[in-house]
Point group: C2
Chain length 159, copies 2
Amino acid sequence: MTTSGKVAIRLPEELTSSALFLLKRLGMAAKERSFSAYEELGLHPYHHAILAVLDEGTRETQGSIADSLGYDRGQLVGLLDELETAGLVERRRDPSDRRRHVVQMTTTGRKTLAKLRALSKSLEEDFLAPLDERQQKVLHALLLALAEEHLPTCRRDLA
Amino acid sequence: MTTSGKVAIRLPEELTSSALFLLKRLGMAAKERSFSAYEELGLHPYHHAILAVLDEGTRETQGSIADSLGYDRGQLVGLLDELETAGLVERRRDPSDRRRHVVQMTTTGRKTLAKLRALSKSLEEDFLAPLDERQQKVLHALLLALAEEHLPTCRRDLA
DNA sequence: TGTATACTGTTGATCTTTACAACGATCAAG
DNA sequence: CTTGATCGTTGTAAAGATCAACAGTATACA
C-alpha cells in the first residue's frame, strides 16, 4: 500500500486552479493567523492599523481614520475605546470644531506600535516562508497592483 | 493647486507594504465580488464549490464533501437543502450504510455548474485584469505554493 | 445474541461580527 | 434665528460561523 487506505480528501482542482479562490482562502487563513497572534497581546490587527494611521503624523480625526481604513465609524468608536482604556491613544475635542475628536497616540502607544510591527513582520515571514525572497517581492508587487485597482483607499491618485 | 484641496485619504504605507495585509484585503474584496455576482443567480460560491466536488466523480457522502471543502457539517446541510430544492442535486440513502446520504448531481445541476464555471472565469478575468497573462500565471503559482502550506485540504500528500 | 461505542446527518442554540439607522451636539449658510 | 449638514456615539438588527445535542445506524466484542 502507498500510505493510507482512504482516498485523499482534497479540494477539487477546479477550485485550486482559480487564483481568486486561492486569494479568498489564503486571505481567510492569513486573517485567522493574525487574529490569534494579536489576541495574545489583547489586541486586533484593527488596532495596529489605527495606530499605523496615527503614526503617519497628520493629526487625525475619527472620520478620516475610519475612511482611510475603510472601517465603519460606529465600529471605530469601540476600537478607539479599547485603545484608550489601554492607554495607547488619547481623544481630545478639537477646539476649532467641537464636533471633532482629535486622536493622538501616547508614548506607550508608540512603544506598542513598535511591538506590533515586530509581530507583523515575524507573522509575515512565517506565512511567506514557502517562498524565497525574490518570490516574496514578486508576490507583493502583484498584490499591490491588484490592490491599487480593487482597494478603494489604496489607489494612488495621480495629478 | 494639484487636484483637490483635501488630503488624500489613503491606507498608510506601513500596511500596504505588507503582503499579508494586502492578501487579507484582496481576499475580502474578491469574496464580496464573488458573493454579489453569484447572488444574481440565487447562489453562493459555496454552492459552486459543492458542485465542483460532486463533479469530480467519486460518489460523495456529505461528510467527505464538508471535509474536503472545510465546511462545517451542519452548515453543509442547509446548503444542500438549497441545492436540492433548486433541483441541482439529489440525496439518497446509501444502501450499504444507511446512515450515509449519497449526494448526486442532476442534469440541471451539471448545466448550472457549466454556467457557474463561466461566471467564475469571467469574474477572475475581471479581477486579474490589471495583470498581464504572464503575471497572472506567476501569481497563481505563488498563491498555490502558499496554499499547499497553509490550506489544510490543499496539500498534495506525497507517498 | 446483546451491549457498548462510534459515526452520520440533522437540528437548534449561542456567539461574534457586520451593517445600518437614529440621536444629541455642533457648525455653516442664508 | 432657522435650516440643513456633519461629527461622534449608541443601539438594533441581520447574518455567519461555531458548537453541542439528538435519533438513526453501523461496528466491535463479549
